[in-house]
Symmetry: C2
Subunit: 270 residues, 2 copies
């Protein structure tokens, strides 16, 4: 399974100004691609810290690392500097990235969104990439995404503004994602159980999980009391949809049997 | 300044099933207390990984580490096992924690929310704490919070269910927080600027930030175009409110002057 880590970058996240929804969205996408997100780290705009966290992910042999944030035109956006440091390569203005930035500002100027299309130093900054990196067209904003390889790890550098991050992921990044993740499926089914106390459900869920170690079985409680419903999620990734669905269905069936015996009602299975 | 790290634990986060709002809420609270959150790590329910991340936070000399998640009655909740491993202490049933769990199930049974108050093995599990830990009353759910010290680091272990996490934080944890963070203030002011392009604003913001290195000055862009507003945040923590407010006001005033010169309109200052 393709292992993935995410590094979300920005003081605004750790100060509590911004809720980091990017990591959640990426986790959903990567899980859907059959990848395994093993860790996400939220760090400040701090070059040595970003570089250290990235180097550790590379040292763990992570297949793909996504970073979000810190690609803008202001001096506090220093992700690319940190990535160059982690990769031990210099930063340099890159022709293709500069073309993308120029094109974007011409488009914005033509629409009257910015006064001039000229490449100021702040705009040019977004085209200064680690040597050897590939620029990824940003269909929404000005800062290109960046793709580079450090040792065996593919590093994908995305902006922090959610529509820009999603825009690159769903367009210019697609060929790279297909090459990295190949064909795979993710199956998730959710059983809703009427059982006001997770501690009663726990031994049954534990038994089913132990019998199906390949399936990720998770029960989640929100409250106590009569009529309270608990959610048990079964999920699994694999290559063949029919095979993956069969394994998940067997685990679901076993929990259904155990619940019937314990006289706990199943409300629905989705 | 008190340095803080957060470790959010749970496969459901990294699989993309659950958006981790706990870390965001804790970042807001800690910033409000004058603390400095330097890193947050989201990990799976994996004992060696949780223990490693916690040990690294301790090794960095972090003053306070918060963990969320993995305190429930099911076998996949293994945070306390990982914390005991990181602290090199055994796990043991703890009288005060058991009293808290027992009390909660008696209360739930009295309300008719659970059938019996008896301490089953699954319920008892929530009272098995690392040796030397203090149990924290959970006003919302059954799993007590846990406080313990590893070397110079205070580790605060909270449940993952948001109302339980917030419930412990705002009640039984308050004396500990006061002792850890003492009296301090956090001041944040936000200037809304009518300027459709962050790259035009960037050199002005950079100049003000450089002149006031103690203030955290951050501009954030969401879109391009006429009428688009950019948000510039100024924030600072310290001991004396008047002094902190004065420093922030001076930085704000400098940006106001720079914007006036550049004929960029300030919409509001909050």
């Amino acid at each position: 399974m393709v292992t993935v880590e995410i590094i979300a970058i920005g003081n605004e996240i750790l100060i509590g100004d911004v809720l980091d929804t990017n990591t959640h969205w990426l986790c959903q996408q990567i899980t859907g691609l059959g990848g395994h997100v093993r860790r996400a780290t939220l760090v400040r705009d701090d070059v040595p810290v970003i570089a250290e966290v990235l180097r550790q992910a590379v040292a763990r042999g992570t297949d793909v690392v996504f970073t979000t944030g810190g690609l803008g035109p202001t001096a506090d956006d220093m992700t690319l500097q940190a990535i160059a440091q982690a990769a031990s390569v210099p930063l340099e203005e890159q022709a293709e990235a500069l073309r993308l930035v120029q094109e974007k500002y011409e488009e914005l100027a033509a629409k009257g969104y910015v006064a001039q299309a000229a490449l100021t130093p702040e705009r040019r900054k977004m085209a200064i990439l680690p040597r050897g990196a590939q620029a990824l067209h940003n269909p929404v904003g000005a800062a290109p995404g960046v793709l580079l390889t450090i040792e065996e790890t593919t590093v994908i550098v995305l902006p922090g503004v959610p529509p820009e991050m999603k825009g690159i992921f769903t367009t210019s990044l697609q060929p790279a994602l297909q090459a990295l993740f190949g064909e795979s499926v993710f199956v998730e089914r959710v059983m809703i159980v009427e059982c006001g106390d997770e501690s009663v459900l726990a031994p049954l869920v534990n038994r089913v999980a132990a019998a199906h170690p390949e399936v990720y079985v998770k029960s989640r409680a929100k409250a106590y009391g009569p009529g309270v419903r608990l959610k048990v999620t079964f999920s699994l990734s694999g290559r063949e949809r029919a095979q993956v669905e069969g394994v998940v269905a067997r685990a679901l069936g076993d929990l259904q049997t155990a619940l019937d015996e314990a006289q706990i009602a199943v409300v629905s299975v989705e």
